[in-house]
């Protein structure tokens, strides 16, 4: 009895790029009990669209959370029409979020539940000291890296962020405000490096102790292969179409070395190593 569906108030909801919106919600209950990489379920009001829409936490403040979402279908279209002051149905945080090292793992375990033996162990030692971390994001995978970057900085790591977009980048100023190394790519070449994030990584070799990534599956797959070759750990945040969004329906599985795992409750973050990319 620790999870809930809340009715929370929207404090702002604005377009930040073509088809991309940023929504801020007043919710101390969520803000004080979440970690980067977790997501919330938003429940549309349009009663013919029944299922929740999972959206990652982008920024976590004392009493507010920020979500950044793209308008791709009916649910997100509806969200984009919400106005400041309106209430929306939102779940408490779901999933396990990124593993960002020992000092936070205690906090994490309060809000996430893993069966014995299921905690990823590979790469945990790498998280212990001030390391060189690379965060790789593609499109609507970029938002969840904002909260992650901030948390990793607090842990004393050195952060490099590489973000890819189709044509128009967003959230750039958020990363810049953190004072980290930022590299932007666009498919169109309209901004930054022309190409994908993987094109960029291959063209500009650099050293990195650890990778985190969120974005489209082909990007994650390529990055996981790259990291395996380099023998560097990578955590990937997987996306899958969901039914319940809280672990009851087995709708959202990801194929791993240990069989199908639920993205919503056992993910969305997995080690690149454990995902069966070609299932």
């Amino acid at each position: 009895m620790t999870k809930k569906i809340l009715e929370e108030r929207i404090t702002s909801n604005q377009k930040i790029a073509e088809g991309i919106f940023r929504m801020t919600i007043y919710s101390p209950e969520i803000a004080q009990n979440c970690t980067p990489g977790q997501f919330v379920n938003l429940y549309p009001r349009g009663r013919h669209t029944l299922l929740p829409r999972p959206i990652s936490l982008c920024k976590i403040e004392d009493e507010h959370i920020t979500l950044v979402y793209g308008v791709v279908g009916q649910g997100t279209q509806e969200f984009s029409e919400y106005t400041q002051g309106q209430e929306l149905r939102v779940s408490t945080p779901q999933g396990n979020g990124f593993d960002i090292g020992p000092s936070l793992s205690e906090k994490m375990s309060k809000f996430t539940v893993k069966r014995e033996g299921e905690v990823p162990t590979l790469g945990r030692s790498e998280l212990e000291a001030g390391r060189q971390m690379t965060l790789v994001g593609g499109g609507l995978g970029v938002p969840s890296l904002v909260a992650l970057a901030k948390a990793l900085i607090t842990q004393g790591h050195h952060i490099r962020v590489i973000c890819g977009f189709r044509t128009e980048p967003y959230l750039i100023e958020e990363f810049e405000a953190l004072g980290i190394s930022l590299y932007v790519t666009t498919d169109s070449g309209d901004y930054g490096f022309k190409g994908t994030v993987m094109d960029y990584i291959c063209a500009h070799p650099f050293a990195s102790d650890y990778y985190y990534a969120c974005g489209p599956k082909p990007m994650l797959r390529e990055l996981a292969a790259y990291c395996r070759e380099k023998q560097v750990p990578v955590q990937v945040s997987m996306e899958e179409r969901m039914g319940c969004g809280y672990g009851a329906c087995l709708g959202c599985v990801c194929n791993t070395q240990r069989g199908y795992k639920k993205v919503c409750s056992e993910g969305p973050v997995f080690l690149g190593e454990e995902v069966d990319w070609y299932a």
Partner: protein, 308 residues
């Protein structure tokens, strides 16, 4: 005209087992662990588990879920760890609850079903729900549920091997559901659950592909409720055994509608995906409905139906 009344009596009895109330969880839409974060499971009349098979099943590839207008499609494909794992890891946990336990049994061959019910012989569970109606399994399952002859046959054989009463879960994808219900009743089924999902399909015209990896899937949710109510109504007038009614129940009034149509208990499925606490909300709404219309028991609701 307000009188002082006793609290309503919500109890219902199915195959000799008395539930504290008629609200149960539809198979495959409930996980004791995950659902238990949202509400007190002891409030349920019974838990119905995800389908359990003789061995571990992988299930289908993703996407397994698609949304439709007022409903959803799923093609999970009965992913489950198998009966041994279920008995070792899940059942002990369920047995600590103060509610009834119904284990949903899945199979591709008759032997699959036999293995599961036999392994459950010694277990402390209350009822078995035999799924002969899953549309997402290629090699069987739904086959048993679409022919009266096969449904009768499998009922008879399972009945021989099961210690607990058996509820046959029927598919709506048939020309005449009453024939199937009569066939399973004749062979000793202790009850029927209806309905499982309607076979459906969605094509994403943007990606130009089927929305589900499995192409077709099971349609559930409020969209299918009128079909479910019709079938419960027809079956109630064809057989004498208890009925667990389900299909699109979203509110307490929906539950009352199934009871009027002839259901002895109801299951909450899709509603619990979009509102994890739905079973308990629906129970409260059912009580409020009973208060409003001065029904004191579930039987009074059923008898309140005016079917001229």
């Amino acid at each position: 005209m307000l009188e002082l009344r006793d609290k309503q009596d919500l109890r219902v009895t199915i195959a000799g087992i008395t539930f504290s109330n008629p609200i149960t969880t539809a198979s495959g839409t409930f996980s004791a662990k995950e659902s238990g974060y949202f509400y007190d499971l002891n409030e349920l009349g019974a838990v119905i588990t995800k389908g359990v098979s003789s061995h571990a099943w992988e299930g289908n590839k993703t996407p397994r879920i698609a949304e439709t207008y007022g409903g959803m499609l799923n093609a999970v494909g009965l992913q489950n760890p198998g009966i041994d794992d279920f008995i070792a890891n899940e059942l002990p946990w369920l047995q600590k609850l103060d509610t009834k336990i119904i284990v949903n049994v899945a199979g591709k061959t008759p032997e699959d079903y036999y293995t599961v019910v036999e392994k459950l012989w010694h277990e402390k569970i209350d009822l078995l729900e035999i799924n002969i109606s899953c549309p997402n399994i290629k090699c069987g399952g739904i086959g048993f549920g679409t022919s009266p002859k096969m449904a009768a046959e499998i009922t008879k054989e399972i009945k021989k091997r099961a210690r607990q009463p058996i509820i046959m879960k029927l598919t709506p994808n048939v020309t005449d559901i009453t024939e199937i219900a009569k066939a399973v009743e004749a062979e000793g089924a202790d009850g029927v659950s209806l309905i499982n999902t309607l076979l459906g399909m969605k094509i994403d015209v943007h990606t130009r592909k089927p929305a589900l990896f499995n192409k077709t899937g099971g349609l559930s949710g409020p969209a299918i409720k009128p079909v479910a109510v019709r079938m419960v109504y027809q079956v109630r007038r064809s057989v004498g055994i208890p009925i667990i009614g389900l299909g699109g129940i979203m509110t307490g009034e929906d539950a009352a509608e199934f009871i009027m149509a002839g259901a002895d208990a109801v299951s909450i499925g899709t509603a619990a995906l979009l509102d994890p606490g739905a079973p308990i909300r629906i129970k409260k709404e059912l009580i409020a409905y009973m208060e409003r219309y001065h029904f004191n028991s579930i039987k009074e609701i059923r008898d309140g139906f005016i079917d001229l």
